[in-house]
């Protein structure tokens, strides 16, 4: 154990991406390619989850969904409290950042899945459904906090209240591309006949880990690009990028094992989901919904700090913690 988790090809490709950027290589993905690969990964994991879900226990699935929603609403509130605790981060930045930490990162989750498959540990399909559910609530919490801050500031300064337009924001939170593809693929995977699913298997399963390598290579390049901006972020924010995933992951682990009775694999996956921070669905939502916040902070944190931290430290750490907690 330990180093094993780093010797997964996908993780090594992430490192390669970082190195490429550090040595100023001209390695670059064509425009739009990352979005395309991202869609493929969501589709494939959705189909896989749907297939497994068709045989799953209905009651446990419903309980998982409820807990996913609770986590999605709870984590950003904890994050906001943590960020505002010492009053070093402005309220709008804190609202936008904490929304990222309540939502999830599919790439982190998939790297954790790759880790389990290499380790030969089985896992339940419920965390995949939970990933879908956890995309949106944090966006709403972030927007609510920002609206509250706006109101309070207007009251303090005696100025006119800037109204929050909820319609387009809620629409965005629930209909963003990731949610639609994941949810759609889950349903298709659950409804499709096993024979017809077997026909898509080469596309969704056999090349999956290879495509994940490609995706993580690009993530490495992007994460390294954020390193410059780290200097501006300051110690409080950087510390948050490491502490928040530890808190979130621990809460997720306890819920997975104690409340939902997941096996080691499922508990570990829920811990990683709760530890991860979004960098695809949430940034545009915050950009539009909380324009007062500085956009370079939240992407730097989720992509430049928390994602690499989870891949390198979080995955082996939460795996060991889950073993210890469940007592396997």
């Amino acid at each position: 154990m330990g180093l094993d988790s780093l010797l997964i090809p996908a993780v090594m490709f992430f490192a390669l991406g970082v190195i490429a950027k550090l040595i100023k290589s001209d390695l670059k993905f064509p425009e739009g390619m990352t979005k395309g690969i991202g869609l493929y990964l969501l589709l494939a994991i959705g189909l896989k989850g749907g297939e497994a879900l068709a045989q799953a226990d209905f009651q446990l699935a419903v309980e998982s969904i409820i807990w996913a929603a609770i986590l999605g609403f709870m984590l950003p509130v904890i994050g906001y409290g943590l960020l505002r605790f010492r009053n070093k981060v402005n309220a709008f930045d804190a609202a936008a950042i904490s929304a990222h930490y309540g939502s999830v990162s599919a790439a982190t989750f998939l790297t954790a899945v790759a880790f389990l498959e290499v380790s030969g540990v089985s896992y339940e399909s419920y965390p995949i459904v939970m990933m879908v559910i956890m995309e949106s609530p944090a966006i709403i919490v972030g927007l609510l906090i920002a609206a509250f801050v706006r109101k309070r500031m207007a009251a303090e300064q005696g100025g006119e209240t800037v109204k929050t337009e909820w319609g387009p924001l809620l629409h965005e939170a629930f209909t963003n591309g990731s949610v639609v593809v994941l949810l759609g693929a889950l349903v298709i995977g659950a409804v499709a006949s096993p024979e017809s699913m077997a026909k898509v298997t080469p596309f969704t399963k056999e090349i999956f880990m290879g495509v994940l390598c490609l995706f993580l290579l690009d993530m490495g390049i992007e994460a390294a690009k954020k390193l410059d901006a780290l200097k501006k972020a300051g110690v409080t924010l950087i510390a948050f990028g490491v502490i928040m995933p530890l808190i979130g992951g621990t809460i997720g682990m306890v819920i997975g094992a104690t409340m939902l009775g997941f096996s080691l694999g499922g508990t570990f996956l829920l811990a990683i989901l709760s530890a991860s921070a979004s960098y695809i669905a949430v940034p545009p939502a915050m950009r539009y919904g909380v324009p007062e916040a500085n956009p370079s902070y939240y992407l730097t944190l989720s992509l430049g700090i928390t994602f690499p931290f989870n891949v390198v430290v979080g995955i082996p750490l939460f795996y060991q913690m889950s073993i210890w907690y469940i007592g396997v």
Binding site: E31, T34, K35, F92, V162, P168, E222, K225, A229, Y279, I280, P283, P284, A285, M286, R287, Y288, V290, P291, E292, A293, N294, P295, S296, L299
Partner: protein, 107 residues
Amino acid sequence: MKTNVAEMTEGKSVQIIINSTFENSLVKILKKLGVTGYTQLNARGNGNSGVQDGHSEGETNVLFVILMSKEMADTLIDSLQVYRKKGHHILIYTYDAQILDPELIGF
């Protein structure tokens, strides 16, 4: 056949750089004002909201180029004021423009 410069109408070329997440709102505002056409380009760049390299949805800029009458340009800039106050990064600048076939763009 040479175009007679005298046939051209005075107007404004309004150029607006916004984040792509604001694109739909801007289009709605333009429609409301009765602007019938515009040109838009995906734009990459750097500035005080960080590098906009088109990598993800929130990190892409859009450049709008809109030809209109001077009065319309003033109205448009006024109506964007409320969004600028909210904190949206909206960069606006205008050029004087000589426009051929102004009826094509509705004025």
